[in-house]
């Protein structure tokens, strides 16, 4: 919604500059800003062409003498086809700037000096008409600045209205709120109707088939109209509201719509096949061409205005092509109706068209302004298009919509707002907004029908609050309430996970939960997904069940952007259909590693990531639940068969990890090896051990022995540790792998493994003899079970 400032000034007295006005309107809930109607029009004046001759050196140019109020005529060279002796036109004098950049100077044109330029409407920025010089009305004073003469000294106020205020889609509605703010009373235009004797009822009858959809339809008939251009002041106001001028009749319907908020429609009555208006629902498959020239297929959601035979308009949304008012029109049927907002909404959705009319009806128009607006438009057509208004209005309004009556308890207002307003202050506010108030202990309030948003006491509280001013409501910083401020355990755990992983060098990522079906099917086929019925694109259709595809996309993006070390994690939601209304939502942690350490720190060596980098992170996570991680081989579609594991914590599987299979990497367009690990956070939390129990600190010293053995490549560490543990007794406290070596010295297919064994007894100091015996047993057993050789 945008409207001329001068128009508002005509409707209500206020003494505020434009900035203060827009600020104050914003602060009562009508957010707005102002822009000048037209750029600078300085040095542009009204002139009269007093002579016009063909240029001696250029046959397509004219040399004109123009009177612009000075003592002497000014010479202007002009190329416009419509320049005539005697016409009045806008003249840009040297120094004027058109369109903010084109500077007018005296210039020589083929030997004649032109001291300015005659302007078209387009050059002044008034319209896109550049077919010729703008023809000004004869009454304008020669020499007058054009801004003043055309009342262009105006601002456009642009409103960003909330959907609950349809009343402010009109000059009167906005002026009413200004009045509530300033205390002035609205000056409504006076409407005087001059009717001819012939009754309109003879020319048209109105029938409504569905009076829920169309509670009211009123019409007037105007004969012998002279359709032509509108007077400038109407054009100017439409211009300010961004509405194109068509002709005087159509412009007047739009003008009155902007004035009262009531959309009107003018039909060429001679195109009606019968003297009738029948409002009915469209039939399925029925076709109709709207005035924008588009043939549209209708359904039952669409309401039609017909002449009893064929449709002439889509009710409340758009007129028809062949019933438009044109220059040939002589008799006009003027419609002022009320349509139900839900019907307009469904019709708009089906047809996918919006219009000024549709917008107002959809937000909610006033059924009881219908006649006032109709008469206002008729009287303007009478005045500016010389029409003859037939007697009476044909008004079909079977069930009058009565204003709502509400009760307002003044103490309730102060209770909610923490204010100290008196009852008379509240009455004043409601009265200024044209609510009818009957005073009493509780106020009886009649809600005008132009305020469909006000339906309960609380809505009246808001009216009082916004006009009183939110800024005057106090600001309390003391509060009561409970002492319990529990946090969500899972959220707390997420925080711990984030800390651990960022400390390990992982970056947190946040990805879209809506995923590409093609991608997730590569990872996980044959399972059910939550599918969006109205996706925004083919690539974003399903809700994810896992985070793998999301993180593979992050890996790809980064590798493609010169990031050589991708080390990321996400704590994200997944959605598993479980046959109920809502899916099960499960939080998961996913880690991804690609590339390698790049030597960012001089103390360690760059190198490609391996499974052990990932396992290290899992071990850090396991500390949070006081458990140890083990991996067990497990098949998976995602991972390479040789490097695909279930992650076990305290003997319980909580997720999977491994090296992503070639096939999947190729489908995602990733060339480097990627390690992924995904854990179910709830399962992870469930493995958490209870509070750790205190163990007395050792009273006797421990003894260490290093044991280096060479074994076959296929022997796994866990088996060696198991053998060592079985061969020793309970004095063996720790078995730490501290070196792993492959090379010439140990021979092909063999590896050297070094353990540090820590022995301790809680009741005595161990003797060397005891420990040596144990070590010998361990070495023997390793030799027997694993063909291990002691390294020298």
């Amino acid at each position: 919604m945008q409207i001329s400032l001068n128009w508002l000034k005509e409707l209500i007295d206020f003494d505020l500059d434009v900035e203060t006005l827009t600020h104050k309107l914003t602060m009562i809930g009508l957010e707005c800003e102002a822009t000048p109607l037209i750029g600078s029009l300085e040095k542009i004046v009204v002139c009269k062409v007093i002579a016009s001759e063909t240029h001696p050196n250029a046959a397509n140019l004219k040399v004109c003498q123009v009177d612009c109020g000075g003592e002497e005529a000014v010479t202007i060279v002009c190329g416009a086809p419509n320049v005539r002796k005697g016409m009045k036109a806008p003249l840009a004098l040297p120094g004027a700037v058109l369109g903010g950049e084109y500077k007018i100077k005296s210039i020589d044109k083929y030997g004649v000096t032109s001291d300015g330029m005659l302007c078209s409407e387009a050059e002044l920025g008034l319209s896109d008409d550049q077919t010729g010089i703008m023809r000004l009305e004869r009454s304008l004073k020669i020499g007058a600045p054009i801004a003043e003469a055309l009342k262009l000294d105006d601002y456009i106020i642009h409103f960003d209205l909330t959907p609950n205020r349809p009343d402010c889609l009109s000059a009167i509605g906005i002026a009413r709120d200004i009045g509530a703010m300033t205390g002035s009373r609205l000056k409504r235009p006076s409407v005087k109707i001059r009717e001819f004797e012939t009754p309109a009822a003879d020319a048209v009858r109105v029938d409504i088939e569905d009076d829920d959809a169309c509670p009211r339809y009123a019409a007037r008939v105007i004969r012998n109209v002279a359709v032509g251009p509108s007077p400038w002041w109407i054009k100017q106001r439409l211009l300010a509201s961004g509405i194109r001028s068509i002709n005087n009749v159509v412009d007047i319907t739009n003008y009155v719509m902007l004035e009262y908020g009531q959309p009107l429609h003018a039909f060429d009555y001679d195109n009606f096949r019968q003297p009738q208006v029948l409002v009915r629902r469209a039939r399925i498959g029925e076709k109709f061409t709207t005035l924008d020239g588009v043939e549209r297929e209708l359904n039952k959601d669409v309401l039609l205005i017909t002449d009893g035979d064929r449709p002439v308009a889509i009710g409340g949304i758009m007129g028809g092509e062949y019933s438009e008012v044109t220059e040939k029109t002589t008799t006009v049927l003027l419609e002022s109706a009320h349509f139900d907002s839900r019907v307009i909404r469904r019709g708009r959705k089906h047809l996918d068209i919006t219009s000024e009319s549709q917008d107002r009806f959809e937000r909610g128009a006033d059924p009881n302004i219908v006649l006032t607006a109709l008469d206002r438009a008729a009287s303007l057509i009478d005045k500016y298009a010389q029409g003859e208004i037939l007697a009476g209005t044909v008004d079909c309004y079977p069930n009058k919509i009565e204003p709502l009556q509400l009760e307002l308890r003044p103490p309730r207002v102060n209770q909610i707002l923490a204010t100290d307003l008196s009852t008379p202050e509240m009455i004043d506010i409601l009265d200024s907004l044209e609510f009818g108030v009957t005073p009493g202990k509780n106020l009886q309030v009649i809600v005008p029908t132009f305020r469909p948003d006000v339906t309960q006491e609380i809505d009246l509280v808001e009216e009082v609050a916004r006009i009183h001013g939110y800024e005057k409501i106090p600001c309390h910083t003391e509060t009561g309430g409970g002492l319990v401020t529990s946090r969500v355990e899972s959220e707390e755990f997420h925080t711990h996970l984030r800390r651990v992983l960022t400390a390990q060098g992982y970056y947190e990522v946040v990805t879209n939960t809506i995923v590409n079906p093609k991608e997730v099917l590569l990872l996980d086929e044959g399972v059910e997904y939550i599918k969006i019925r109205n996706p925004i694109s083919e690539d974003l259709q399903w809700l994810r069940r896992e985070l793998f595809s999301s993180l593979l996309n992050v890996v790809r993006h980064n590798l493609n952007h010169q990031v050589e070390k991708v080390k990321v994690f996400e704590i994200g939601n997944t959605f598993i259909p479980i046959g109920e209304k809502l899916p099960s939502e499960e939080w998961r942690l996913c880690l991804a590693l690609a590339g390698g350490d790049t030597g960012e720190n001089w103390t360690f060596h760059p190198g490609a990531f391996t499974l052990y980098d990932l396992k290290g992170a899992l071990e850090c996570i396991a500390i949070l639940v006081d458990r140890e991680v083990s991996l067990s081989l497990a098949e998976s579609k995602v991972f390479d068969p040789g490097c695909s594991f279930e992650v076990m914590l305290g003997g319980v599987g909580i997720g999977t990890c491994g090296s992503v299979s070639r096939v999947i990497l190729e489908s995602f367009g990733i060339k480097s090896e990627v390690f992924l690990g995904e854990l179910r956070i709830k399962s992870l939390i469930n493995t958490r051990r209870g509070p750790a129990e205190y163990q007395p600190l050792p009273r006797f010293p421990s003894a260490e022995r290093d044991l280096a053995i060479v074994v076959g490549e296929k022997v796994i560490i866990a088996d060696l540790v198991a053998t060592i543990t079985a061969a020793a007794d309970q004095t063996l406290r720790e078995t730490v792998l501290f070196d792993l070596y492959r090379g010439k010295q140990v021979g092909q297919g063999r590896k050297s493994v070094a353990f540090r064994l820590v022995f301790r007894d809680e009741s005595k100091t161990l003797t060397d003899e005891h420990i040596d015996n144990l070590c010998n047993r361990i070495v023997d057993k390793l030799r027997v079970e694993h063909d291990a050789q002691l390294r020298a």
Partner: protein
């Protein structure tokens, strides 16, 4: 030991101690001359075997020698301590030895910072499902059946009456159903909107909802809590402006602007030269919401507010493209 021998010993000790270069050498000489196995100690230990007259004399000589050596030792110690030390200089400009750390996502950081402030004010944290029944997302929040927000153009549907939540407000309804006032909760979470992806809009985004219901909660309490929050989060000088607005689930409703912290309200590109930045929507919880959850709107009143996390982070860090949050380029992530 004879007196001559003691004199020789003293002469030797004096010379050696004078030429000491390190504390270690001084200590070695201390052990040599005064230690348990030193000659002087032997003399003093052997005193009782001497004749009484000789004993006194020897004792005097030995003690005198001991004192002299002790004095020279102290001098030598002082000298080596004061002497300029020969050290290998360390290059203190080399970076420290550490494993490079990662960073939290900016959305996480922003949510955490905001939640911490409200947690300190006595708000509990609550969460709700992202796939939500239409009833919780709209109906119970006083959205009429034909409300435009319910359009397929605005909301993702996964079934006739199941949507991806378009805001965090359904958490209000779920929490109200679970408990009785006083209820004071902060609820962050992911929300969805059926919207083409652009620099200004993404189909996924984060919101943070806060609400408080109790006896006699007023609009003034709402102004207070948001003022306290904004001044903690954006700075103590920040001013707030409450403008009337409209949301189906609050009445009266307000938009909250803060004075632009980038230009101190003078007007800049970010605040579109208004001096104000819109940061959140709020209001008094609508009686119809209370009715839907079985609270008595006469007995209790409450407020609610909601803010967009990305918007706040974008303002605070001058980020001009919301897609950066979901692209997860490490060169972006590492900046915060």
């Amino acid at each position: 030991m004879s007196q001559d021998e003691i004199a020789d010993l003293l002469a030797e000790a004096e010379e050696l101690l004078e030429n000491c270069a390190s504390a270690e050498e001084v200590e070695a000489l201390r052990v040599k001359y005064l230690g348990r196995k030193s000659a002087l100690t032997a003399i003093l230990r052997g005193l009782k075997e001497l004749d009484a007259d000789k004993r006194v004399e020897v004792a005097r000589e030995a003690n005198l020698a001991k004192k002299k050596i002790e004095k020279w030792l102290a001098e030598a110690k002082q000298k080596v301590a004061a002497a300029p030390r020969q050290v290998t200089r360390i290059d203190h400009t080399l970076p420290g030895k550490r494993y490079p750390t990662g960073k939290l996502h900016l959305i996480t950081r922003t949510v955490d910072d905001i939640v911490d402030i409200f947690y300190g004010m006595g708000f509990e944290v609550a969460l709700g499902p992202e796939v939500e029944e239409e009833y919780y997302n709209f109906g119970a929040l006083n959205f009429p059946p034909d409300h435009p927000a319910r359009d397929m153009q605005d909301t993702f549907y996964v079934a006739d009456d199941v949507v991806l939540r378009t805001h965090t407000s359904p958490i209000q309804v779920r929490e109200f159903q679970k408990r009785k006032p006083p209820v004071r909760i902060i609820a962050p979470g992911r929300t969805y909107r059926q919207e083409a992806i652009s620099a200004r809009a993404y189909c996924v985004f984060y919101q943070l909802e806060g609400f408080y219901v109790d006896h006699r909660v007023t609009f003034a309490d709402l102004k207070g809590v948001l003022t306290a929050f904004a001044q903690q989060y954006f700075g103590a000088d920040v001013k707030l402006r409450f403008r009337p607005s409209f949301f189906p689930f609050t009445e009266p409703s307000a938009e909250v602007d803060i004075s632009c912290f980038l230009c101190q309200g003078r007007g800049c590109r970010i605040c579109k030269h208004t001096g104000w930045l819109e940061i959140l929507g709020c209001g008094m919880i609508h009686p119809n919401v209370f009715e839907a959850v079985g609270y008595d709107a006469e007995e209790y009143t409450g407020y609610a507010f909601g803010m967009g996390i990305e918007r706040i982070a974008m303002l605070k860090h001058k980020i001009d493209d919301i897609r950066l949050f979901y692209e997860n380029d490490i060169r972006f992530l590492s900046q915060f």
